[in-house]
């Protein structure tokens, strides 16, 4: 049989269909990482650490509410405690898939709510090494995703997915994500810049089951080119708390209710 190899590939096909595609892995991962529960609350402590170990702290309460299904619209509300001079500042985002987010900020010192343009999702979130996209997710449609291989991280089996941006808007050229095979949380992510050099490294440093939902409670992002890194801890976490939709409004930006921000 001259064309034996066609049969061989045909023989492999069913196996391929059983395995998840890159897109599917990333979709499941996004759902597990950014969308669990109807809503979510955490006290977030971010440490911004420069090459010499000098630390700056950002502390905030983050509230998230899903409007629809995983991968759909979300609303975020953030209330800042630290640094001291930004206490009472609040920040709100309406996140839409496949469309620019809406963002507002309340600046207490001048008692002003300002809409903030969101055209640059790759800019740094409050001066940390996380971008807005790293915090609230990047549209899956912006990249192509391909399963590279399977690999263990510690004792966890992972699927390694390579994502490559379709356009040129990203500051990275490609990234590899290690997705836990069991709970689909991303355990590690390596971003490469457009020159192909290692750029940023994300690691999920500590997991916990919160209301039996596996949650990354400690994470860090390191810029491998500048040596700057950011460590994030989620404290006082809770899911499905019944956060009202009305909270995500200009009125509450100016005067956030105590019960939600503390």
């Amino acid at each position: 049989m001259k064309r034996w190899w066609i049969w061989m590939i045909a023989g492999l096909l069913p196996l391929q269909a059983l395995a998840l595609s890159g897109e599917e892995v990333m979709k499941k991962s996004q759902a597990a990482f950014l969308y669990p529960g109807k809503d979510f609350k955490a006290r977030v402590v971010m440490k911004l650490i420069n090459k010499d170990g000098q630390e700056r702290v950002r502390e905030l309460t983050m509230l998230r509410k899903n409007v629809g299904e995983a991968g759909g619209e979300q609303k975020y509300f953030m209330y800042f405690f630290q640094p001291a001079d930004v206490k009472d500042m609040t920040f709100m985002t309406y996140k839409y898939p496949a469309k620019d987010d809406d963002r507002w900020m309340f600046i207490p010192a001048v008692n002003m709510v300002k809409r903030i343009a969101a055209q640059d999702k790759r800019s740094s979130f409050v001066g940390s090494d996380f971008t807005y996209e790293d915090v609230s997710g990047r549209d899956l449609e912006d990249d192509t995703h391909a399963v590279e291989r399977e690999e263990k991280i510690g004792n966890r089996d992972c699927i390694v997915v390579k994502s490559t941006p379709k356009g040129t808007d990203a500051d990275f050229g490609s990234k590899l994500t290690w997705v836990d095979k069991e709970n689909f949380l991303p355990l590690k992510e390596e971003q490469y810049d457009r020159k192909g050099a290692r750029y940023k490294l994300f690691t999920a440093d500590e997991m916990a089951d919160i209301q039996s939902i596996p949650t990354v409670v400690k994470r860090s992002m390191k810029n491998l080119q500048t040596g700057h890194r950011t460590e994030v801890a989620y404290l006082k976490t809770g899911y499905n708390l019944g956060i009202e939709d009305s909270l995500f409004s200009e009125r509450f930006l100016r005067q956030p209710p105590r019960k939600w921000v503390d």
Binding site: D85, M89, I107, A109, K114, I116, D120, S123, R194
Partner: protein, 747 residues
């Protein structure tokens, strides 16, 4: 013996492939020096880049049109993809952070995310550029004809490679624009290339000229070859030692081959005397013996003086100068050892008939040069009063000229005015805020202090105060960002182009800014805890004086407006200033040391303080005259010149040593009776050797006057004039002084 020398030479030669050049001006001072430690600290505190290439784009019709902007966008994209470039912090129209308000929405993001497609977009960009003080004179010239792309380099990146790649990128664009590639890394690499040129091209040319000159003077190939061979071996040994010991070749040491070749010409005195003696005696071996007896002492002492003059440099603070001093001192010793053993050996091998023919004209009576020199000496001896009076008058004028000397190191000015780097620098300085960058670091002991409105306003006031200086083209600081945000939040109302009233407002504005800006935008102007602020000061000249003015202005400002902060200068412009002052300090120290050492050697050689003083005179007047000229011409007194003056003492004294030694030998042989006769004889006979030596020396260095870097040109001109002048003064002034002081001398 010869075999050993050959083996050693081979050994040193094997070191040559390891050669590296160091053209980083920072390395002029040790890395433990205060200024370098402090500059490193500042770089760290504000996450600054050590090296930035600046690409200027100029369009006589203005850069704000769709075509040019499209090119700028493409060029920037190309640059961002280059290895070695710190892409995240490249500042160009497409990447620099802008703060604007659009229909009530605050926008912090790149100024021009993509090239405009319509003329309306171009006009919007124009408005954004000229409406923001952070941009004018930084990324856009006031006339709109020039923009700049700032390309910071990662640590350890190869600046020359990146610059070449940028040249390739801009070469692809066909259009009316002109491109300038400037910045420290480019200057350094151009410098390195020129240094190699000097060593690889100018040194051999100098060698050939000397060879031809020696051949013309002595008409014997074996002798000329011997002399050149000796100098080659000395060069190979010293350069091999330098490279093998791991030292990089620096601006100073790149001149070493020419120096060693020139110093080797001291052996001329051996030949000179030998030819005279041979002519007198007709017996070669006897002539050699007598020659060595007559000449060896002065030659030994002149070598000692030269080596000592260079060894003095070891006490300097500037590293390349130390290395250079050690290198030449070593080379001089090698030269002397070789010429004593090797040259006299060659003399014995040379066939007698050849020498007889070549030495045919070597008599004091039959030689025109010797006669002319003799007349010169005779004039000095016959009219000592006039000679000394004229010299003193000239000296007085020179002292006046010396007072006009201006110490300055401007490294960009080391390149010729037509060089790519100078053209780029001049164009950029005319169009934009200035290529010379200094920092003023405002420090408080209290964290968060810089967020206080009074601190912000103080910084802002200091900026305005500095910008009043003609040398300062642009300043920027954290206050500029705060003012910008205040204004934009209040609907771009010019009334709010000011520092807000409370510390919290400042803090919140900066927080807001940091939510979208590049991290480096804030990091480069404040430290993480807001205890320090960094004011960027762009100057339009690399003259060290400009930074001195800035520092003085900051001090005045602080006196009038007291605030509990300290202001410390930093950056490359400040480094240049410190280094400049070190040069001056070194000059004074080195010059005094050399004066003492040379006098001590003279006194030791002559065993007489009186004779030492006489021999000292031509040297002093030569230096004085040259300094006078430097002062009158208005040439900056920079590092190469200051090193030259120290060295020149050790080299220029050679002639006087020969003259006085031989004069006293002559007097001892013929008795003291005919002093004028002895003076004329010395001027004519050893004098011819002196003149030959001076001419050869000058010939070697004259090549450097055609070098592409001005320090080489200056050094060339300095040595040529010094050699000729000191030879002349030796022949003229010493006879005059000896005649005037004969009672005192022979008492």
């Amino acid at each position: 013996m010869l075999l050993l020398a050959g083996l050693l030479t081979l050994l040193f030669l094997t070191q040559f492939p390891k050669i590296r050049t160091d053209t980083n001006p920072k390395h002029m001072l040790p890395d433990t020096s205060d200024v370098r430690v402090w500059n490193d600290e500042v770089d760290k505190a504000f996450a600054l880049y050590e090296d930035t290439i600046v690409v200027g784009v100029e369009n006589a019709a203005g850069v704000l049109n769709r075509e040019t902007l499209g090119r700028i966008a493409r060029i920037t994209d190309g640059i961002l993809a280059l290895p070695g470039v710190a892409s995240r912090d490249v500042n160009s129209f497409t990447t620099i952070t802008n703060v604007t308000a659009d229909a009530g929405t605050l926008k912090v993001g790149p100024l021009m995310p993509a090239a405009p497609k319509t003329d309306a977009e171009v006009e919007a960009l124009r408005a954004a550029l000229f409406g923001n003080t952070l941009f004018v004179n930084r990324v856009i010239s006031k006339d709109g004809k020039t923009t700049a792309i700032y390309v910071p380099l990662e640590k350890g990146a190869n600046g020359a490679e990146v610059a070449d790649k940028i040249r390739e990128i801009v070469a692809k664009e066909k259009g009316p624009e002109r491109y300038y590639i400037a910045g420290d890394p480019v200057a350094r690499d151009t410098f390195g290339a020129e240094m190699f040129k000097l060593m690889a091209m100018f040194s051999p040319i100098a060698g050939m000229i000397m060879f031809a000159a020696i051949q013309y003077m002595f008409r014997n190939l074996a002798l000329s070859a011997a002399m050149m061979g000796v100098s080659m071996v000395a060069i190979i040994w010293s350069m091999g030692l330098l490279i093998g010991a791991g030292f990089p070749v620096h601006i100073m040491s790149s001149m070493a081959p020419v120096f060693l070749m020139a110093i080797a010409t001291d052996s001329i005195h051996i030949f000179n005397e030998f030819y005279f003696r041979y002519k007198e005696r007709g017996d070669k071996l006897a002539a050699i013996r007598e020659t060595m007896a007559a000449v060896s002492r002065p030659v030994r002492y002149t070598a000692l003086a030269t080596a000592a003059g260079f060894a003095v440099l070891l006490f300097m603070n500037i590293i390349p100068v130390q290395v250079f001093g050690g290198l030449i001192a070593f080379g001089t010793v090698v030269l002397r050892l070789l010429s004593f053993s090797f040259i006299s050996a060659v003399l014995t091998f040379v066939r007698e008939d050849r020498i007889a023919r070549a030495a045919g004209s070597e008599t004091v009576d039959g030689d025109r040069t010797a006669q002319a020199l003799g007349r010169l000496g005779a004039f000095g001896a016959a009219r000592p009063g006039i000679t000394v009076a004229v010299t003193l008058a000239l000296a007085a004028v020179s002292v006046w000229g010396t007072s006009k000397i201006h110490v300055n190191n401007n490294m960009v000015a080391w390149f010729k005015a037509s060089s790519e780097i100078r053209v780029a620098d001049t164009a950029m300085n005319q169009a934009l805020g200035g290529t010379s960058l200094g920092y003023l670091v405002v420090q408080s002991k209290e964290p968060e202090f810089m967020k206080r409105p009074e601190a912000m306003r103080w910084i802002e006031g200091l900026q305005r105060h500095l910008e009043a200086l003609p040398e300062v083209g642009k300043t920027f600081s954290v206050a500029d960002y705060v003012k910008r945000i205040n204004r934009i939040l209040h609907d771009d109302d010019a009334k709010y182009d000011a520092v807000p009233e409370t510390k919290d407002t400042v803090g919140q504005y900066l927080f807001l800014f940091s939510m979208s800006a590049k991290p480096s935008d804030l990091d480069s102007v404040v430290d993480p805890v807001f205890g320090k602020a960094n004011i960027w000061v762009q100057m339009k000249t690399w003259d060290a004086e400009a930074m001195r003015q800035v520092i003085a202005a900051a001090e005045r400002y602080q006196k009038v407006n007291p605030l509990p902060v300290t202001v410390k200068p930093a950056g490359i412009a400040y480094f240049n200033l410190v280094w400049n002052d070190e040069v001056l300090g070194d000059l004074v120290l080195g010059f005094s040391l050399a004066l003492v050492v040379v006098f001590a050697i003279l006194a030791l050689d002559f065993r007489s303080l009186k004779w030492a003083l006489i021999a000292y005179a031509p040297l002093l007047f030569t230096i004085l005259f040259i300094y006078g000229v430097v002062g009158f011409v208005g040439k900056d007194f920079d590092m190469p010149l200051s090193v030259m003056s120290t060295l020149s003492l050790g080299m220029a004294v050679d002639f006087a040593i020969h003259f006085v030694s031989r004069l006293r030998q002559r007097l001892a042989e013929t008795g003291d009776a005919d002093l004028p006769g002895a003076l004329v004889w010395t001027a004519a006979r050893p004098g011819k050797g002196i003149m030959r030596n001076a001419v050869l020396f000058a010939a070697a260095f004259s090549v450097m006057m055609f070098a592409p870097l001005t320090p080489y040109v200056v050094v060339g001109a300095f040595i040529v004039s010094m050699m000729l002048l000191s030879a002349l003064l030796t022949m003229l002034l010493i006879p005059a002084l000896v005649m005037l002081g004969r009672r005192w001398l022979f008492a």
